[in-house]
Amino acid sequence: MAYNILICDDSVAMRQMVKMILMAYHYGINEANDGLEALELAKKYKFDLIITDVNMPKMDGLSLVRQLRTLPDYQFTPILLATTEPDGKIKKAAKAARATGWIIKPFEPDRLVAAVKKVLR
């Protein structure tokens, strides 16, 4: 089954990076530039996984996770936060917002794929 993934990052370079890696594994990739855009897309389509940056204009990653979790469709959907500083603070915040997990930017291809496989069977 082909999974549909939404990547949310305000950097096109970052998104392109993720896209290139994951497309090689035949995942369907969708993009959003900020949390607000991601939320709108998520309301329209049902994604199997959302990978979001933390620092973004309009709506940051943590707010996005919180908002998504209020939607019936996204109560159990895996959501991964992509962060450059994987310190205890961000992990706690991620958990508090009910994110599934986190991955470290910049993405190392194998690591990213492993993380995605971890939540998408």
Partner: protein, 743 residues
């Protein structure tokens, strides 16, 4: 797996330059007193994104530099530091340095390492000087920026740590919290990962599942006992459970006690595994990674670990504190140093003529729709191909009409892709005005409006230099010093307004200031002095202002480092003309001046009037045509024997016989039989004598220069519907040529 990073590198650079521009304009906003959180967040994000992107490519100098900026900005963001003028200056300078580093990267050049170092020092310095309770931990990672992004894929433990226990297997008790599923974690995924390591025995404990009526479908009532037969290190298993460690009870114990017995392990098995305090005892035998990699942090042991780290860091901090005084002294020196030679340094701008453009989705969507329509029309016409008979002709016509309409719309959509908002150019001005007004000791408020007005990318790129020149001029010569302004009864702060809007198929850019304006008497005197004007002549003000654009004409007596750059108003006008544009000036002495630039939206398409001369067809830009008329012989005079003029109302307009110009023998030579097209270019009028007017149509301009050579009076060529080539007349060039010949 390996991926091609070239494209991403391009994207990164492009994006980083955008971020830098954004940071710059936000910093200038701050300087204007617009201190709001959103702006500060914006600046922070800029540095953050650049750092993150640079991480992909291991551009360590950039990572390091952006990180320093980010740290400083984060402190501002968290209100740990007040925004001061000098802080903004420092950040602006750092933005420049970052831009320089990125440009160097883009062009594979070296950059000014000293400047970068100086910036770095300055960025670090005030931090130690002002902040009170700066966590020392981050200062440590400032000096070793690479550690910021540890590659977690590699084992977290290095060889300096005690060797791990290698067991034959692990017993895992996993009891998720009721709500674990709500974070999107699924136990099955975790088990699948364990299976990848070795054989796994799973038994589920369903005793906690409540009666059906009390069942919450979204809760997780199970717990599992897992036995993994695999020769792996403990942290590998810990990692698998990393994302859920706070949402479950997790107990990992070695299946067979290894021979080199870790101090606390053996005693575990017979204790109650559900005992919470247990964890703090298990943990010490888990080697502790560098703090920050929280994979192992859990409960109390994380507290002890971090407090130990803190102790260590405090020592470092103290040491730094003692050095901070001398450092800050140095910092001041550097700050002063750069204050004086800021403008003499070469400024690094990223290559403005980028090869790619980012296009908004709706433009592309329009395009795709249009192409779809075109294909439909196409197939509609195809049906006629085989059984063609006359009753269908009207349908064919209809199809052709539709095809034509669609093609035109398609063409417009394609053209729109090349269009960019003028904000790309306008956005540079806040910085320029900021720097210049500081340098000139003037107070200037810059107002931008109509930034979203779009124009062709090429036109946009080429108009930038003239705009910069005009803005410089306005600041240098237009707006007066604060004292002069107060004396003249004006606000101390001058106003410079850049405004853009569309008018037909043109874009108009107005640059107005409320400064001193032009002194028409001074211009007149200067024009007479330079022999451009007779003392008896009394031209209108507008005509006088025309002299401003004359080469070598300047009413400024003293030359400072702003003027005298070898670019005069004549060059500005020449550049604008090269874009088939015009520039006009309006001014009132003591009240300010306004320059209006009119440019075509695109250089690729022209609304043309086809005219026939003999057997040839020429094209005139519709914009240059004022009117066309039948010639009344009585109104034609000739003077000096050679030049014919036509009296149109109160004006005398020179006549140019095109057949003469192109040395053609066929066609009408009798003025009464042809048409006189009155055209205007560069503020001068002329009548072009042609045989007849044909249709008006949009034409696609092909460069003559590229395919043949440059000819004065001809701006290009086009291919007409029947496949023949027609030359496009350059009215301004013709007028110039005409005057050069007759004067």
């Amino acid at each position: 797996m390996s991926i091609d990073l070239t494209e991403i590198r391009e994207l990164f650079l492009e994006e980083s330059f955008d971020n830098i521009d954004l940071m710059e304009s936000n910093l200038l906003e701050l300087e204007n007193g617009n201190v709001n959180q959103e702006i500060i967040d914006g600046i922070f994000r800029g540095a953050h994104s650049i750092k993150g992107g640079a991480g992909i490519f291991n551009f360590e100098e950039i990572i390091h530099f952006a990180h320093l900026m980010e740290t400083l900005l984060d402190e501002i963001r968290k209100k740990e530091r007040v925004i001061t003028q000098s802080l903004i200056e420092l950040l602006l300078r750092s933005v420049d340095a970052l831009r320089m580093m990125l440009s160097a990267l883009q062009e594979n050049n070296d950059y000014d390492k000293e400047e970068v170092q100086a910036c770095q020092n300055a960025l670090k310095m005030p931090r130690q000087e002002n902040t009170i309770d700066e966590p020392a931990e981050s200062s440590e990672y400032l000096t070793t920026p690479v550690e910021l992004m540890p590659s977690v894929a590699e084992p977290l433990l290095d060889s300096t740590q005690p060797p791990l226990t290698k067991d034959k297997g692990w017993h895992i008790l996993f009891k998720p919290d009721l709500s674990m599923l709500k974070t999107g974690n699924d136990p099955i995924n975790l088990f699948n990962e364990l299976v990848c390591l070795g054989d796994l025995e799973v038994s589920a404990d369903t005793s906690q599942v409540p009666a059906f009526s009390d069942l919450d479908a979204q809760a997780c009532y199970f717990s599992w006992q897992l036995t993994l037969y695999a020769d792996v290190e403990r942290h590998i298993i810990e990692e698998i459970f990393e994302w859920v460690e706070d949402e479950c009870e997790l107990h990992i114990t070695a299946l067979e006690p290894p021979s080199p017995v870790p101090p606390s392990t053996p005693s575990h098995e017979d204790r109650n595994v559900f005992d919470k305090n247990e964890e703090s005892e298990i943990s010490p035998d888990i080697p502790l990674p560098d703090d920050g990699n929280a994979a192992f942090e859990k409960g109390e042991d994380s507290k002890t670990a971090s407090s130990a780290a803190q102790l260590k860091n405090e020592a470092v901090f103290d040491e730094e504190k003692s050095n901070s005084h001398s450092d800050s002294e140095k910092g001041k020196e550097i700050l002063q140093d750069w204050g004086t030679d800021e403008h003499t340094k070469p400024s690094y701008h990223h290559a403005t003529e980028a090869n790619s453009i980012r296009v908004s989705i709706d433009k592309i969507d329009d395009l795709i729709n249009m192409v779809g329509e075109l294909v439909i029309t196409q197939s509609m016409l195809d049906q006629f191909k085989d059984n063609f008979d006359s009753p269908l002709i009207s349908q064919l016509r209809e199809g052709l009409l539709q095809l034509e309409r669609n093609s035109r719309e398609l063409q417009e959509s394609v053209m729109r892709i090349r269009m960019l908002p003028i904000s790309f150019s306008f956005n540079r001005f806040p910085r320029l005005v900021h720097d210049l007004s500081l340098q000139l000791g003037k107070k200037v408020e810059l107002k931008l409006s109509g930034e979203q007005t779009e124009l062709d990318k090429i036109v946009l790129e080429k108009i930038n230099d003239p705009l910069v020149h005009l803005v410089r001029n306005a600041l240098d010569h237009g707006i007066e010093s604060p004292a002069q302004r107060l004396h003249a009864g004006k606000y101390e702060k001058g106003l410079l307004h850049l405004h853009a809007f569309h008018q037909g198929s043109n874009i108009i850019i107005k640059i107005s200031d409320d400064g001193a304006g032009f002194d028409s008497e001074k211009i007149r005197a200067k024009a007479i002095q330079q022999g451009l004007l007779n003392a008896e002549e009394h031209p209108s003000e507008e005509q006088l202002y025309e002299f401003i654009f004359h080469p070598g004409f300047s009413t400024v007596t003293q030359v400072n480092n702003l003027s005298g750059r070898g670019v005069g108003m004549d060059v500005v006008r020449r550049n604008i003309r090269a874009l088939s544009g015009t520039i006009e000036v309006q001014s009132k002495k003591g009240q300010g001046s306004t320059f209006s630039i009119r440019l075509p939206l695109t250089l690729a398409i022209l609304d043309g009037q086809l005219v026939r001369v003999g057997q040839e067809i020429y094209i005139l830009s519709l914009l240059s045509i004022i009117e066309s008329l039948r010639i009344n012989r009585a109104l034609v005079n000739s003077y000096a024997g050679t030049t014919e003029v036509y009296r149109l109302r109160d004006e005398y307009i020179p006549i140019l016989r095109l057949y003469d110009l192109f040395s053609m023998t066929s066609g009408t030579t009798q003025l009464e039989q042809g048409i006189l097209v009155i055209v205007e270019g560069d503020g001068k009028k002329m009548g072009l004598f042609v045989d007849e007017l044909l249709s008006q149509q949009q034409i696609v301009i092909k460069s003559l220069e590229k395919n043949y050579k440059k000819i004065q009076g001809i701006s290009g060529a086009t291919i007409l519907g029947d496949g023949s080539v027609a030359l496009i007349l350059d009215v301004a060039g013709l007028i110039q040529r005409f005057h050069a010949k007759t004067i």
